[in-house]
């Protein structure tokens, strides 16, 4: 195809988008709705997954000691835990470091809250962070550590924590969200495709005469198909560009809200990290839906 022909085909396709006015708007809107739902679900799944991954790699047992426990007893308990065959690593987080870590976590906004606490009045106890060789042994090891209390008269262990069931629950949630999302999106995409094929059918009906003359003077089917193909692709492209813009803007806002809210114990996956993949996927899908919709409606018309 020559360049001027290509230009002509693009012009014709673009013209139809405008000529069909509200039909085009309806098609574009339906693409936006379906892709937006898809986009929100993708973002949700990405974040839950990253949270779950995080939690998984962090499967560890936290052991909080009583604040009265002295260094000697602390080291002794630590050594006892270290000898357990299931344990791969024990890290001690001393009181002071724990306080500092907590302050860091709260950030600038939370600084005032911990203002009064110094090393002497530190409310945070010594803590062991324990990594396991096999995360699934967590409940067993936790009870073994709790039992250590009985071998010491001072009962040095205040509390043993392990993320009981959280991870399993998370994975279950992710799976459910993904499945529901897929069904939703498939339905919406189908609707969008149907609307687009209808829009293009209107174009075809309006241009029946033109198509008839084109066929009569010997235009190839491919030549006739091009403008409709471009019309569909344009509708898909416009729809997905709007979707990506809305989604990313919304996500960025949300990211800031989450980052500012210190009651939340997690951060959203930074947008930079996902923008290219999610944006690309949505754009590609929008184009695909648009082109598919247009192809469906022309096929029947070209058989003469």
């Amino acid at each position: 195809m020559s360049f001027s022909t290509l230009l002509r085909q693009f012009r014709e396709g673009a013209k139809s988008v405008f000529r069909n006015g509200w039909m085009s708007v309806a098609s574009i809107t339906s693409i936006i709705v379906s892709l937006l739902v898809l986009g929100v679900f993708i973002m949700l799944v990405i974040n839950i997954n990253s949270f779950a991954d995080d939690a998984d790699s962090q499967v560890q047992i936290s052991v909080y000691l009583e604040s009265k426990v002295d260094d000697a007893l602390r080291d002794k308990v630590m050594a006892e835990i270290q000898t357990m065959p299931e344990v791969s690593e024990v890290t001690l987080i001393p009181k002071n470091e724990g306080l500092k870590e907590f302050k860091d976590k709260l950030g600038v906004e939370g600084k005032d809250l911990l203002e009064g606490y110094t090393e002497e009045t530190n409310p945070i106890p010594d803590t062991f962070k324990i990594k396991l060789i096999e995360p699934t042994t967590a409940p067993f090891v936790a009870s073994k550590i709790s039992a250590l209390n009985d071998t010491h008269p001072d009962k040095p262990i205040y509390k043993v924590n392990y993320g009981k069931g959280t991870i399993e629950k998370l994975f279950k949630v992710t799976r459910t969200v993904r499945n529901i999302g897929l069904i939703f999106v498939a339905g919406l995409a189908l609707m969008a495709m149907f609307l687009i094929s209808n829009t293009i059918r209107v174009t075809i009906l309006a241009r029946r005469r033109e198509i008839g003359i084109m066929k009569l003077v010997g235009a190839t089917n491919a030549f006739i198909r091009w403008p409709f193909f471009i019309e569909g692709a344009l509708i898909g492209l416009i729809g997905s560009v709007v979707t990506v813009a809305v989604l990313f803007f919304g996500y960025q806002e949300l990211e800031q809200v989450v980052a500012a809210d210190m009651t939340l114990a997690f951060q959203l996956v930074p947008m930079k990290q996902v923008a290219l993949k999610v944006g690309g996927l949505l754009l590609g899908l929008g184009l695909l839906i648009g082109i598919w919709g247009s192809t469906m409606s022309i096929r029947k018309f070209l058989k003469v």
Binding site: S2, S4, R209, K215, F223
Partner: protein
Amino acid sequence: MIEMQDVWKTYSNGTHALKGISVKIDRNEFVYLVGPSGAGKSTFMKLIYREEVPTKGQISVNGFNIGRLKQRKIPYVRRNIGVIFQDFRLLPKLNVYENVAFAMEVVEAPKKVIRKRVPEVLELVGLRNKANRDPSQLSGGEQQRVAIARAIVNSPSVIIADEPTGNLDPETSWGIMQLLDEINFRGTTIVMATHNKEIVNTMRKRVIAIEHGNIVRDEMRGEYGYEF
């Protein structure tokens, strides 16, 4: 050039439009197709430009076997056939120049060639000075001239004309006939269906008469032969 051998056409509703037609039209001939309405003239012509396929028999046009033509080859056969209708079939939103250029654009002729060829053809049909008019601003005769220009712009070897003067007054009709004669003189085969007795009897050409799907008469320099 155009050759039919025992061609039958039965439509899906059971109408037998053509019943065993055999005919040969040579290069550069001018043929009138006459006969009552519904006798099969239109089907005869539609078979030539492959709007319809024969139910039985063989048709060859410019060496192509029309009945067995592959779908994707149809456009290339049609580029060698110009078609003219009673109702002109111009695109109302395009002006005269654009209507003619359209036929070249869709066969992807280079822009340069289009810009040179379209004025030439408009000159030939006598509409050079009306290139920028819309079809609605033209008389019936002028609109048909535009349709003829569009039909010949890609230099086809055959022109199929389905009652080209059917909507025109006698004087205008003569102008169109002179134009077709000129095109024929320049080397294009013309097959024209008509009900115009005066034209057939005055501008003597080969006459093929079709009735009830059969050729009942085929004469060089023939007469119209019907009373209406």
